[in-house]
Amino acid sequence: MSTVEERVKKIVCEQLGVKESEVQNTSSFVEDLGADSLDTVELVMALEEEFETEIPDEEAEKLGSVQDAIDYIVAHT
């Protein structure tokens, strides 16, 4: 079983079409990884699917970086 961090990073790579080496914990989805508004919606939906959880819109808006997403998943699953 992979760690939450590995699974989150894998999804980020798939959704945003970036290489694993580009994805740091501090990477911002929009500023560093080039996500547009639709990408961030798709990313959140993919995270919901992978971790079988529902991320409310007001929480989803706060997930700006890879670490934010990891922290959220760890706290809520």
Binding site: D36, L38, E42, M45
Partner: protein
């Protein structure tokens, strides 16, 4: 023009324009899932496609009910995979002059003709976004642009569909997903058979081609919009009305 390997969902496919669209998309190689509100209607769709040797089947779905859309789509996705072509064709009329129009007539037409388009579109977007390819084709009506006495509810719903389609087109175009409308004029279907001779005569007078359209003449335009060749057409409404209204 081939739609081989694509799953197409066509709502309201048991007769009229919807049936012609279902058959045309199937003829071009798509696996077509056509919806009807009753099991008999769904069976008729299955039989009709089978009789032509086409791939596809009928599915019971009432587009006015969110739960029914959800259940139908779950079944279809399980059975055939995510639909990459969606044709929102299902529609009803409840005509009356505004002074006599009931709240029920208003809300039923808005729910079935407009809210359904929002719901089915939303439900298929994920699969299309993943595939980086999708076609949403909404059947509007010439009266959305023209207006028509006795059809305030229907005109409002259809004009709403056109506005919705333009927004959707802008939101999703960078994912290879297009959204367009086809606006039929007077087509020879059960919906126009309801008109009496006098209404029919008046109608023919304003149609330059001098005849009603055939459902197949709408279906061929839908098929074009569903094709790869239409990839750069989005947010558009194509009129199919024998020249009676030219936007």
């Amino acid at each position: 023009m081939s739609l081989e390997g694509k799953v197409a969902l066509v709502t309201g496919a048991s007769r009229g324009i919807g049936k012609a669209i279902a058959h045309e998309l199937a003829r071009l190689g798509a696996e077509v899932v056509g919806t009807a509100t009753s099991p008999e209607g769904a069976q008729a769709i299955t039989d009709g496609l089978k009789a032509e040797g086409y791939q596809g089947y009928g599915l019971v779905m009432n587009v006015a009910e969110p739960e029914s859309i959800e259940a139908g789509l779950a079944q279809l996705t399980e059975q055939s995979g995510a639909p990459l072509i969606l044709v929102n064709n299902a529609g009803i009329t409840r005509d009356n002059l505004l002074m006599r129009l009931k709240d029920d007539d208003w809300s039923a037409v808005l729910e079935t003709n407009l809210s359904s388009v929002y719901r089915t579109s939303k439900a298929v977007l994920r699969g299309m976004a993943k595939a980086r390819w999708g076609r949403i084709i909404n059947i509007s009506s010439v009266v959305a642009g023209m207006g028509n006495p006795g059809q305030g509810n229907y005109c409002a719903a259809k004009a709403g569909v056109e506005g919705f389609t333009r927004s959707l087109a802008k939101e999703m175009s960078n994912r290879g997903i297009t959204a367009n409308c086809v606006a039929p004029g007077f087509i020879d279907t059960d919906m126009t058979k309801k008109l009496d001779d006098k209404q029919r005569g008046a109608m023919l007078e304003i149609i330059p081609t001098g005849r009603l359209g055939e459902p197949e003449e709408v279906a061929s335009v839908v098929a074009f919009l569903a094709s790869d060749g239409a990839a750069y057409v989005t947010g558009e409404t194509i009129h199919v009305n024998g020249g009676m209204y030219m936007g």
